[in-house]
Symmetry: C2
Subunit: 431 residues, 2 copies
């Protein structure tokens, strides 16, 4: 029986995991597809340096043409990462009517909608379970729930580095820099952690999820995005005091006229499932109109969990190809431009931390500025001070539900007054 | 284009939800399958009494032959529940080479392995996502993870009634009977709640999960099963004091030589995801060798969540049929008899609550009996007493990790002594 011939583009940790799983489960996969799966060529950057799977070295090449130009290949698996040259390779694979499995969230965030359209127009599959949430089957669940349901909202912990750093800060009192260094030492953070801790990686994943869940084509750069650098140990302590933990979230909501997308740290009630997703684990909570609330969690990164997702996609795509049809992975994805809701128009509760000089009347000034902007205070706690010594003290206010626009207005008024000793910290409360 | 013709067996709440979702998403489903889906006949018990979907009444029948004997039907959807007559209907559908989608956990628990074999031998699909965990796509996730992974263990909150009752007892101090009455009033528990609160429903679901995850054919009646009737409010209070909550769990573990399956209430650490799955929500945690820990949670019952799962199955099965192949849903399920591990051979920590007469030396007697059996005590707390008045007091001991056999032996020795005023309560700690 003719094998399904696979071309592997890139062979880092995920690619190595894919080769390993394809080999270890060859019999099962062949039975399930109805034909054996064979990795016929692997595009790598440097045959000497790169981690190379235990494969016949004749199958390894540094020449893209040798892989992409081989008309015998049925399915390309793109695990190189980055936008270029991955984008051109994927486009070429689609244009020559081969199906593609990719785990490349950045590529999908930048060009996902166009690539899906391209695949649909050529009648091939473009599967990308591995691009979001590692081994968590969120793409599949969204695709299948959407067969008969309407996704109202989603919120997720989609960056393992952020979750690890926040977890260590909270449970062991580490500072941000110390927690990042530890994550780097354990291989959970890159040498340059910016893509993760500044929230960009989470924004990329949110754009991919929004494409599926809300049919929204959104530029990643336009998603309001905050990272976790500004969170201090004191914020974890205050959050705990109010019954919350701080998580870095990617949030999406279908608002009918548009979509609300945002990435930022938020206070989450301690007794919720999301609050208890710790360390490098990821989780995505969905709310479907028929399905109700659904949560998926697991390892969001790492070679093997992501490879499990990639192999599940390879299985689907190969099976479809073997049976003479395709487009399973992209069918039903209908993407269009949808306006983004401004953060100003989001309603919620807020955690506001002010460092102020301990003088009588300070709280009244803060409360007054908030009240003038129409923001009412639900709880207040002060740490230190009380003697009127003029020393800096910390005041934390939790607001009632209010428009973000109004909170911003109050903070601006406070900034130009002389009440606060430093820039106040604003954290959103996610309920 | 020829439609895919569907015969619906049973039309209660889930069946009604299926009809509703098929209609509401007809265009999408037709596009996705490549042919429209048409419900051509519906077998009901009583055309007058039953909740009847908004369908041409000519399609409703109380005559099984009119549905099962119609050779034009491509796919049967069985949502009657119960073993008989559903079993015969499903067998006949398979034998006449039609694919079947079922949400019937009891049927699958009793005859799942035989039905899967039958479907495989006839080359048709037997899909059953709706049978476990309502809208939670656990069957699909297991099937796809298994394409390249090995499931080591699973633990789940799979009965919404039990979870609701335990949640209400814990958070609001209700007694068992009161919480059950409330669940009944809200439609979360049957008039006869035994199937749920005695753990049998959870055992059925565990048997279905074990078939998928471990390839194990196990009789539901042989799974060690305990319900939640014996849990008292005081147990919730003690559990909380030690940092746990009480959950009703279905637990499975592949032990190589056999499988360990058990259903019982257990203490779960408060800061875990499972501990925070509350009310009628269900959750299933899996541990895959490559995938690591994965958790899925959502509404475990209800017409619409289950109907979403059934429709996702119908979509798969119809698409396969339309494309001239089948067996997707059952492929890779390889079931064989596997020995069950005795509870005696399970290792774990235990919560033991004794009601004793408040006399000097009582604790020493308890500790002595446990020590004689090789069980060591990690923590102890006593409620009430201390005056040596002979009044009943509560003593709770948490053991170190030990064999259940040894704990049982100690409890037997204590039972024949005159130390305890009543039968001690044993709860397992799940970590």
């Amino acid at each position: 029986m003719n094998p399904i011939r696979i071309g592997l583009l890139g062979c880092g940790t995920v690619g190595g995991g894919v080769v390993q799983l394809l080999r270890a489960n060859a019999d099962y996969l062949a039975q399930s597809v109805g034909a054996p799966l064979e990795v016929v060529s692997v595009l790598i950057r440097d045959t000497e340096k790169e981690r190379v799977p235990d494969l016949d070295r004749a199958r390894l090449t540094t020449d893209p043409e040798a892989v992409l130009g081989d008309p015998s290949i049925d399915v390309f698996v793109e695990v190189m990462g980055g936008v270029n040259p991955a984008r051109g390779y994927v486009e070429r694979a689609i244009d020559t009517r081969r199906s593609v499995v990719t785990a490349n969230k950045m590529l999908l965030a930048m060009h996902g909608a166009a690539l899906v359209e391209r695949a649909v127009s050529k009648g091939v599959d473009l599967a990308f379970e591995g691009s979001v949430g590692g081994g968590i089957p969120v793409v599949r669940v969204l695709r299948e729930a959407l067969a008969s349901d309407w996704i109202v909202s989603l919120e997720g912990i989609v960056n393992g580095t952020c979750n690890y750093v926040l977890t260590r800060m909270r449970t062991d009192g580490l500072g941000f820099d110390e927690a990042v260094r530890e994550a780097q030492a354990k291989g959970y953070a890159e040498a340059d952690p910016g893509l993760d801790v500044d929230g960009h990686d989470a924004a990329h994943k949110l754009v991919v999820l929004a494409m599926l869940a809300f049919g929204a084509r959104v530029e990643a750069g336009r998603v309001p995005t905050e990272g976790i650098r500004a969170i201090e140990p004191i914020d974890h302590r205050f959050a705990e005091r109010f019954g919350f933990v701080i998580k870095h979230l990617a949030i999406g909501r279908d608002r009918g006229e548009g979509v609300e997308l945002r990435v930022h740290p938020a206070l989450v009630r301690r007794d919720t499932q999301l609050a208890n997703v710790n360390g490098v684990l990821n989780a995505i909570a969905l709310e479907g109109r028929a399905l109700g609330p659904t949560l998926l969690s697991g390892r969001g990164a790492g070679d093997l969990p992501t490879a499990v997702s990639v192999v599940a996609d390879v299985l689907d795509v190969a099976r479809a190809r073997r049976n003479g049809f395709a487009g399973l992975a992209t069918r039903g994805i209908q993407v269009k431009e949808r306006p983004l809701t401004s953060l100003d128009d989001v309603r919620g509760r807020y955690y506001l931390r002010f460092q102020v000089h301990d003088r009588p009347g300070v709280l009244a000034q803060l409360a007054g500025a908030l009240g003038d902007a129409g923001v009412s205070i639900e709880q207040m706690v002060q740490e230190g001070g009380g003697g009127g010594t003029g020393q800096p003290v910390q005041i934390v206010l939790l607001t009632h539900e209010t428009l973000e626009r109004d909170v911003r207005r109050a903070l601006e008024a406070i900034a130009v007054s002389s009440v606060a000793a430093s820039v106040p910290r604003l954290l959103r409360i996610q309920e």
